[in-house]
Structures are given as C-alpha cells and as structure tokens.
Symmetry: C2
C-alpha cells in the first residue's frame, strides 16, 4: 500500500489565528523558546499499489485543486511516504498504538 503526504501551510502574509493562539499559549505553559508558530495541514493519501510518478503527479494536482486554497495557502511538499508507511497505520509506526 502506498502513501503520499501533502503538506499545506498558510501563506506568510496571511493572518494565522490558530498559530497566533498557540504562540500566545506556549510561554504561559513554560515554552519560552518559540518566537513564532504557523499552523497548516497535513494530508495522507492512500493508494492501493505503489506510488508511481503518475500517482505523485495526480497527488500534486489534487493538492492544488482540492486540498489547498491557492489564494491563502502554499503547498509546501508532496512526497511519497510509502517507505515510512510499510503496511502499518500511522499510530503503529509511531509506536503509540
């Protein structure tokens, strides 16, 4: 089973209220090192077979047309994450299942 990961972030000039809320909360909770936080989205797209260059191209197109709003967001990365995935779901990979 293949997996493509798509990462989307708000454009730098766009206000990011969720990130602002987090950066305001961190120092109150003892995390004083972080000067800025931006919050974006991470999608995992599963495919039945291998992630071919065609699939990756389709994922890139889906990222532009469906998974992001190009007015306010940037696509940061579209990557074949099948190697990370193996056949195990995310939680098992992270040893947390």
């Amino acid at each position: 089973m293949g997996r493509v990961v798509v990462e989307v972030m708000p454009k730098p000039e766009i206000l990011d209220p969720q990130g602002k809320a987090v950066v305001g909360a961190l120092p109150r909770l003892g995390f004083t090192q972080f000067t800025g936080v931006r919050q974006g989205k991470r999608f995992e797209l599963e495919v039945d077979g291998e992630v071919t260059p065609e699939i990756l191209e389709q994922a890139r197109k889906a990222a532009e047309e469906v998974l992001s709003n190009p007015i306010i967001e940037d696509i940061v990365a579209v990557t074949d994450a099948s190697a990370d995935a193996g056949t195990a779901p995310v939680a098992q990979r992270a040893g947390l299942a």
Copy 2:
C-alpha cells in the same frame, strides 16, 4: 533562524470527517487513484537561534502537551527543518511567493 516542524495526525481508530469528505470529493473531481485520505495538522515553530537538541526536546514536549490531543491524535514527526528554511519564508522556499 531555526524552525521545527511538528506533524500530528488523527489516530487510525478515530473517525476523520475532514478526510472522509476529501476522499468522497476526489473521485467526483477526476482523482480516482486514492482509496483513503486522512487530514492532520502541521505546525512550524520558529526559534531565534539554532535548533539545538534541547529545543527539539522542548518542541517534542510542546507537541505532546499543547499541539496535539493524545486521546485522539498521534504525533507523527518532530523534525528540525532549519535546513529547508534558510532565512526565507515558506512561500519563497516553494517558489510560489
């Protein structure tokens, strides 16, 4: 300027309505290759200096305590992304600014 990226995904056993909506929309829009979609979050934490092992450890702690809900979410990755970042904002890195 350093940057730490934190990636958070809903646990596999947790219903993910946003992912479900996307996987339902994709075939209608011509993307028939994708059998499953999960939607999670991606945070960029900025620090003034370099990303030291201590900073990375603090980011890991912040990921557990502030950026994710351990009941329903897994932390997939906490990585030093300073090398990707340089001094340029995300959009410039992606060549989209």
